[in-house]
């Protein structure tokens, strides 16, 4: 992270929506005191809220920032309503518009024309959008410009040392975000030999040349789930919601769960019995012979 993510970086994370959110990476951003970041994503569950409350963020480009279990997220509210700990800029999106912006970035197109949001105030509130007339049909279309993150961070079940990564379960906008990015950081639950990846290349999310770093970090997504590995820790989201109602409460939560633990291993140990209880066996897919 020290090498690839500087202050002011534009970072996409949480790209699979509710699952596979790389919380371990978000917490490391807080520990390393990164500043003036732009966070890009569809929804982020509470990862964006934590980074906002810790003062790491200057701009949010997202469709939804909150706590999926509890609704509103307190740190985002404080930043927008009171400028605490600092003012942030928001570029409102919907899930489809952010997916299309990342698609444009992924295929090297300047923008994607769409019919979503035409009658939504989001079309006016986001200064990067433009409404135009489609030269072919004459109908109104919204042009959503390409987004090209400096870094996209993906959490996956398994990857090889070169960065060939297998992600299963829903992908959300993960693939477009990876292909659109200048660099991809893969946070993998398990490092596997190349032969495992090559046995099932349809499951690989992006070519390895996009990947600048592979981090083996089991349990990196807690409290979000990782398909076939561990479930979602719903109560943890509720506890975070209750604990972060005030600035002091937020600071104490960060001190306890982020700055107070040196790394993910210590974080998982701190979870005690609730971590093994979330473990999933999963079921094997039918064999596909290549």
């Amino acid at each position: 992270m020290e090498r690839f993510v500087g202050d002011g970086s534009r970072i996409a994370l949480g790209c699979a929506l509710e699952p596979a959110i790389p919380f371990a990476f978000a917490h490391e951003l807080i520990r390393q005191r990164r500043r003036d970041l732009e966070l890009i994503g569809p929804i982020s569950d509470i990862a964006f809220d934590q980074l906002i409350g810790a003062g790491c963020v200057a701009r949010i480009t997202a469709a939804w920032v909150g706590n999926v279990s509890a609704g509103l997220a307190h740190a985002y509210r404080r930043a927008m309503e009171q400028g605490v700990p600092r003012r942030i800029e928001v570029r409102d999106h919907s899930n489809f518009s952010i997916a299309q912006s990342l698609l444009a970035g992924a295929i090297g197109a300047p923008y994607i024309p769409t019919r979503t949001l035409l009658h939504s105030d989001i079309a006016r509130a986001n200064p990067t959008f433009r409404e135009e007339t489609d030269p072919f049909s004459g109908e109104r279309v919204l042009l959503v410009p390409a987004i090209t993150p400096d870094v996209t961070v993906l959490a996956v079940q398994r990857a090889d040392a070169d960065g060939n990564a297998h992600l299963w379960g829903p992908w959300g906008v993960s693939q477009e975000a990876a292909l659109a990015a200048k660099a991809v950081i893969v946070v993998t639950d398990e490092l596997v030999p190349r032969a495992v990846i090559a046995s099932d290349p349809n499951r690989t999310i992006a070519p390895a040349w996009k990947v600048v770093a592979v981090v083996e970090e089991p349990g990196a997504c807690h409290p979000s789930p990782l398909q076939g590995r561990y479930g979602r820790d719903h109560e943890f989201f509720h506890q975070y919601h209750r604990a972060t109602r005030t600035v002091d409460g937020f600071d104490q939560w960060i001190a306890e769960w982020v700055t107070g633990v040196p790394d993910r291993r210590a974080y998982l140990a701190k979870l005690g019995d609730r971590w093994p209880a979330l473990r999933l066996e999963g079921a094997p897919a039918a064999e596909a012979r290549f």
């Binding site: 509710e18 469709a63 939804w64 899930n95 997916a99 299963w168 959300g172 979602r232």
Partner: protein, 239 residues
């Protein structure tokens, strides 16, 4: 056990799903409505979840978010948000459910911010998620929310999800249909009253000529709702 507004809302939402339709399901009450519809009158309905899941059978256990691993178990397609939203934009999805903080009489929903200035909101809300896309692009929009004078307003501060395709508004107190883009109360729940709806609605209430008490869930529907949401997490807690 007494009937709750949540159970009535789920049953009403289930009746909005027609057999064979493709439906953007969303979370919370509509998710249970999808289960009820599948097991009663709409066995061939297909559910789409915006993070990239398609399933023609409900998840085997209660979900708290659409990304919970049980929602992938037994799915028929795991894909990208873009794939599902693209099919939505193509017109292949008949109906979608959304909730929100505020709705106006035309079915415009605000989930972005309360207050006149977007950059300096009085209350910052989470945002669209996929709601604005579902509202913009699904054939019929069904809005579900808690009924309160501050939430059902003449005008919302920010139109996150436009009401162009609004079909039905199901609240904790009653059911509205949109007639020529305007909400008309068609029923009030057995747990509510016409006066209760009027007192808690922030616009000059239009009432259907044949306004009636909302039909209670059938015994079969109630059995399915209580079997699926067995601890009452979604349907028996206070709204």
């Amino acid at each position: 056990m007494d009937l709750t507004p949540g159970e009535i809302m789920v049953a009403q939402a289930a009746l909005q799903i027609r057999d064979g339709e493709r439906v953007f399901v969303g979370m919370r009450l509509p998710l249970i409505a999808f289960v009820v519809a599948k097991r009663t009158h709409a066995p061939n309905a297909v559910g789409l979840f915006e993070l990239g899941i398609v399933r023609d059978q409900p998840a085997p256990e209660l979900l708290y978010t659409m990304g919970d691993p049980p929602n992938v178990t037994g799915a028929t397609w795991c894909a990208r948000t873009l794939d599902l939203m693209g099919l939505l934009q193509r017109g292949e999805v008949e109906a979608g459910f959304i909730g929100g903080a505020e709705v106006d009489r035309h079915g415009n929903v605000n989930t972005t911010a309360i207050g006149a200035d977007r950059a300096h909101p009085a209350v910052q809300l989470p945002g669209s998620g996929g709601g604005a896309d579902i509202a913009s692009l699904a054939g019929r929009l069904i809005v579900i929310m808690a009924h309160d004078r501050k939430r059902l307003r003449e005008r919302v501060d920010f139109v996150t999800s436009p009401g162009d395709h609004a079909s039905v508004l199901i609240t904790t107190l009653g059911v509205f249909r949109f007639v020529d883009g305007d909400a008309v109360l068609v029923s009030y729940h057995p747990t509510s009253s016409l006066e209760g709806v009027r007192a808690n609605t922030g616009w000059d209430l239009r009432v259907s000529n044949d306004v009636h008490v909302t039909e209670a869930p059938s015994p079969e529907m109630l059995r399915i709702i209580r079997g699926y949401d067995h601890d009452g997490f979604w349907t028996r807690r206070g709204e």
